[in-house]
Every structure is written in C-alpha cells, then in structure tokens.
Amino acid sequence: MSGRKLPVYLVLDTSGSMDGEPIEAVRNGMQTLTDALRNDPYALESAHLSVITFDSDAQQVVPLTDLFSFQPPMIEAGGETCLGKGLELLANCIETEVRKNTVDVRGDWKPLVFIMTDGEPTDVWQEGLERLKQVRCGVIVACGAGHAANSSVLKQITANTVMLDTANSSTISAFFRWVSSSIAIGSQRIETGKKDANGMSDFPTMPAEFRLMP
C-alpha cells in the first residue's frame, strides 16, 4: 500500500432513539458503502475508514483501516446522545491517526468526516466542538436524521449540514449512498487533482430528500 491515505471518519449516533429501523439502516448503509468503494479503484487504494459511535459515551469501534481489510462493525443502539464526546474522540483520533507532511513522511490527505445524528445532544457538545476545531479536516458533513435532530447545533459544527425529514431505511440508505460517492470522488480528486476537497461543491449532487441547510 502507498503511504498516503484518504482518511474518512464516520461519526454515528447510536443513542437509544436510533434503535430499530434507523440502526438497521445504518448497518446496511455501511455495508453498501464498503461494497461500493471496494469496487472503485481510486478508493480501494487510498481510502481508509474509521467508525466512531456515540451514545452515553463515545467509542472508536473501527480504527482507521484501509478498505482492503475494513469490515462494517457490529453496532447497537442504546443510551443518550453525547455528541460532544463523539467530536472530542474524533479530534483525538485524527490527531493520532492522520499523518502530516514532514521532511521524511509524505502526509495523508485531509480527512473527510461524516457525522450523523437523530437527536438533541445531551452533553456539553460545545466542548467537543472546541477540541475538534484544533485539528484540521478537509470537509465535515453533518447529517440530521429526523425531526428531532437539531439543525442549528449541526450548523455550528459545519457549514455543510443536511437534514433528512425522517430517519428511516430509505433516507438513511440514500445518505450512505451519497457518502460513498463523495468518498469515491474525494479519492479520485487526490489521484488526479492535486487538491483536497474543500467544500460541498466538490461533492456529488445530493438526492432530493436531503435538505441542505443554508
């Protein structure tokens, strides 16, 4: 494998409210995502995936792993919605797992981050956000799934916030398909483009059921 990776972090809400259809859709979504990326030559050679879940606590269920060895993790829903803990853990993981350019190490590409939540944060999420601001990301996309998600919170995390009107299997799987083509394009850009993706304009068009928050 080449030393330069395109790090992709999936930060997923696994609180109790995700139980049932939503969490099942997330599991299937991750499956679809890895199946699609595995057949994309750009992504297969450069994309590395990590999965971070947050409920009453945050956990990195899969450390940054190349697509060759990645397998979708077993995730279950239960507990609260500690978004701040998720963001803090994300920042820590980026700091330890993503390499910067130095004279003797060719740095990784700027990480892509996809956050998905279905509810109001139950912790002091601002602290986690402050921590996240200390590390450099390429693009952060936040997805609020369902009416209980708070778009104004997500807007403060990233300008790239999308809302799904309901959190069901069709919207969530549409979101994961979109994430997968975003990663594919991201890894294609780095092969050909000399440039990291820097905003939503670099990503594929979103399905109709997404609402991009202004």
């Binding site: 060759f68 279950e76 003797d104 000399k194």
Partner: protein
C-alpha cells in the same frame, strides 16, 4: 430443570435477573437487543442439552430433537436431573453412547441453526492471492477464534476448509463468499455461516476510456522524443496516467526537448487537475519555454560556449545572464497563457501548471546546467558514486496535495532558479510528480543518493535499446499503488566512452 438451567446460566455469564433500575438499564443499555438474543440462545442451548439427555435415557435410537418439538413434554419429564455431568457419566459407563452421540451430532442436517445475532468473522481475502483465514466469533469484547468443522464453500471460489478447519485457497473471483460450517459452542454443534469478503485486484479495476468526442482542446495520450548530440543522448516521454484513462480524461502533463550542438533544452510541466484547461496550460508552458530557450541558444550559444572556460568573473556574468533568461522565458510563458485565456474568455487560472525547465551545455569533461523549478516534481543531476545535485526544492504543504503553480508570484520564490557546473555529471533528470512521488515519496527521499542511483540504473539501459522512446513509455507504466497520475520524464545521459 428450567430453573436449574437458568441458575447455571446466571453463574456462568454473570447475568442477573433485571429488576427496577437495573432492568431499565438493561433494556436501555447498549447491546440490549443483542444481550436478550444471547440470553435466549443460552437458554435454548441448555434446554436442547436437557432434551438430548432425556432422549438418550428414554429412547436411545432417537436423534436429538429441537426444543419446540418436544417442549410440551417438559412437565412429563418429571424429576429434575443434574444435567451438567450427565453426558460424561453416560460416556464413561457406556462406550456405545459416546459413539451414538458422535453419530447424532455429525449429521449436519439434524443440527440446529444458530440465531442470526451470533456473528462470525473472517479476515478479508484478495482475488488471486493465497489466503488462509480462521473463523472467529464476535463477542462483547471483540472476537476470538471459534471451534468449527465441516466447512462448506461453493466450488466457484477456489476456496475450501483445510485440515485445521481454516478457509484456504487462492480465491478465483472477487465478491462476498458465503462460508457454511458447524460451530461448537461449549458442548453442542450448530449450523452456522459467515461471510468472507474477497477484494478485487486493484490493477483489474482500472479501465481505459476515451475522452468525450466534443471535448476541446484535444491532446494525445502519450508523447515521446529522442535527440542525440556528440556527448549526450536526450530522451523524453509523457504518458496519460491510469486515473485519467479510467475516467476518460486527457493527459495533463507535457514535455519538450531539443538539441543545438552541445547545447540542450529540457522542459516538463504538470497541469493542475483542478483547472479545466490545464492540459493546454502545460502544453503551452513546455512549448513556449523550449522555444524561448532554443531561440536564445541559437542567438547566443556560440558566444556562451566561448565564455565557458573564461575567468571567474566572466563565468559569474554568464550565470547571471542565464538567470535573467530563465526568468524572462517563464514570464513569456505566463504572458502567452494570459493571451490565450483572454481569447478563450477563460481565467488564466484554468491553465494552471507547474514548470520544470533546464538548459545547458554538455562538454567532454563537464556539464553547465541552468534550471527553473516551479511546483512539485523533481530536477536533479546524477554524477555517479553517491553524488546527487538537486536543482531546487519541490513545494509542498502541511498535508499532501498542495503545490504551487506558475504565475508572477511564483517567480519570486527563493532558489527558483539555479545554475550549476558539475564535472562528472552522468545524467540529468526532469520529472513530474507522477514519477517523483512513487520513486522518491518524500523530500527526504529526494535527497537519497540510493534512490537516484536506482533510477539511473533502471533508465540508462533504455538508451541502448533500438526503440528507446517506446521503451521509456513502457517504463512509465510501472505499478505503484495509489500513484496513477500522469507521468512525464526527460533524461539526458552522457554518452559512455567519450
């Protein structure tokens, strides 16, 4: 009996009957669903074990039955039996019982199916690569090797269970392969299955596609050139990378070389992927730069040649003249790009390109080289025996993928232009990052004499080949994971024995 089974289960798993606050936590807690299913499964196993024992006591010829078939007999079975050591006792007292049990348990059709919540794991395989993988079971704390037997895999995969009950073979195709097997959990065998992911070969995923017919301007996918002189041989090649071929893009690199007596010009350029007309930008850059330098050589070459062995002062003045010439030529490139952009009603930014240019004079005993280097790539002179002279530095940022492109501002950069006299020069290399990234990887790598020696050793023999130009194009196809950019190289090689 059922209570015994439950108590035994409690003892072994630490599972407590949920009450009050604990019940709430249990139900709302993480993995709640998973825990419930596991609990049911444990009970199910104990019940199955119990029925099995009862069957052996009452009707030795019966196969073990599933609980739902005999569950209604629970009350009729009567007296509770200490179930845990029952089978050991039986086996000790009756050797036939052990054999019978074995027979019963191995009839795979009779084995109960595991609840779907119990999951297994196999490390991923890759098509065409030898594979041995051990089946693991997912636990709460991760995964641990599982005791399995009788692995069954469709013949089409070229995979099978080996003597150690591991999956082994060289998978013949990519995709999700289903592995069926029997799983021993404590005392009982179960029918189970697991998914094995076989990764495709990344080399085979790349496609060759032609750009859209209507796309303008057009550009050839490859280019190569050779020029010879008394003391040296010049070769250049530029090739569309796999990633551009895969998505039907054009080559964005370009290259130009020329020879004028003992003087030569070498230029390579790499158009920015983010700029839509960069293929034209790099084409203009190498063309205009080469022409400007060639014109200057035609006009002043003789005078320059006569000054090469002059006093130190003369040589310093000459070097200064070269610097001025390179800067002025680069400015001509910027102006030409600006002109064309204006005509096309495009921003000059759409023509963004790097530029590496060198010109000089190779004589019997020495090389005089003047160069300009904007952006990434590499420009170096190999003088044999660990001597490498880098003619500048590539630009790179904090993370990968940042570089500088040719514009007025880029010409202010320090050590942009360099003039060097190198007595034992063997070869001069100019290359775009499509070659320098996989070959040198880092800035530190660029300074590694070993890496330059290897490059020289690989490329020098190509000059001796009849079809050196196409051989060099072939060489540019080398495989390096994650490195599929356009590749361009221009090489000057000193002729041996002169």
């Amino acid at each position: 009996m059922f209570r015994d089974a439950f108590l035994d289960f409690q003892k072994r798993t630490g599972f407590l009957q949920p009450e009050g606050e604990q019940a709430r936590k249990f139900i709302l807690g993480k993995n709640a669903g998973h825990k419930c299913v596991e609990f049911m499964y444990e009970l199910y196993k104990l019940w199955d074990e119990y029925v099995f024992q009862q069957n052996k006591l009452t009707a030795p010829m019966n196969n073990p039955s599933l609980p739902h078939e005999q569950g209604q007999d629970m009350a009729a079975i009567g007296k509770e039996q200490p179930h845990s050591d029952m089978r050991a006792l039986n086996q000790a007292s009756d050797p036939n019982a052990a054999a019978l049990e074995k027979e019963n348990r191995e009839s795979s059709s009779g084995l109960p199916k595991l609840p779907p919540a119990i999951k297994f794991w196999l490390p991923n395989a890759a098509v065409g690569k030898p594979y041995v993988g051990e089946i693991h079971r997912w636990n709460k704390d991760g995964k641990s090797p599982a005791k399995v037997r009788n692995l069954r895999i469709d013949a089409g995969w070229d995979l099978a269970g080996n003597a150690d009950c591991k999956v082994e073979g060289v998978p013949g195709r990519a995709g999700d392969c289903s592995v069926a097997f029997e799983y021993l959990d404590g005392k009982n065998w179960w029918d189970a299955s697991c998914k094995l992911i076989v990764n495709p070969d990344p080399c085979q995923l790349w496609r060759e596609r032609e750009p859209d017919d209507s796309a303008r301007p057009r550009k050839e996918h490859q280019k190569s050139e050779r020029c010879q002189a008394q003391y040296f041989d010049l070769l250049g090649a530029s090739l569309r990378g796999r990633s551009h071929a895969h998505n039907g893009g054009f080559r964005e690199d370009d290259m130009a070389i020329s020879v004028h007596g003992n003087w030569f010009v070498m230029v390579v350029a790499d158009g920015a992927g983010s700029a839509k007309l960069s293929r034209r930008g790099s084409e203009l850059a190498v063309g205009v730069m080469k022409d400007a330098l060639a014109r200057a050589i035609a006009e002043h070459g003789e005078r320059w040649s006569s000054l090469l062995d002059g006093s130190e002062e003369t040589v310093l003045a000459l070097e200064e003249e070269f610097r001025v010439l390179l800067r002025a030529s680069a400015q001509t490139v910027i102006a030409e790009i600006g002109k064309e952009a204006q005509q096309a009603e495009e921003s000059p930014l759409e023509y963004a390109t790097t530029l590496l240019a060198a010109f000089g004079c190779m004589q019997a005993d020495s090389l005089l080289l003047a160069s300009l280097w904007v952006g990434d790539g590499a420009l170096g002179v190999w003088a044999g025996e660990g001597e490498i002279t880098l003619m500048g530095r590539p630009d790179s940022g904090e993370y990968s993928g940042q570089t500088r492109f040719l514009d007025e501002k880029s010409l202010n950069k320090e050590d942009l232009i360099k003039v060097a006299r190198i007595s034992a020069a063997q070869s001069v290399f100019l290359m775009t990052d499509g070659v320098s990234d996989p070959r040198f990887e880092t800035e530190q790598g660029l300074e590694s004499a070993q890496k330059w020696r290897d490059l020289h050793a690989e490329l020098a023999p190509i000059f001796a080949m009849e079809a050196a130009e196409s051989e060099l194009l072939d060489w540019l196809k080398f495989w390096s994971p994650g490195n599929h950019d356009d590749r361009t190289v221009a090489i000057l090689l000193r002729k041996q024995g002169i």
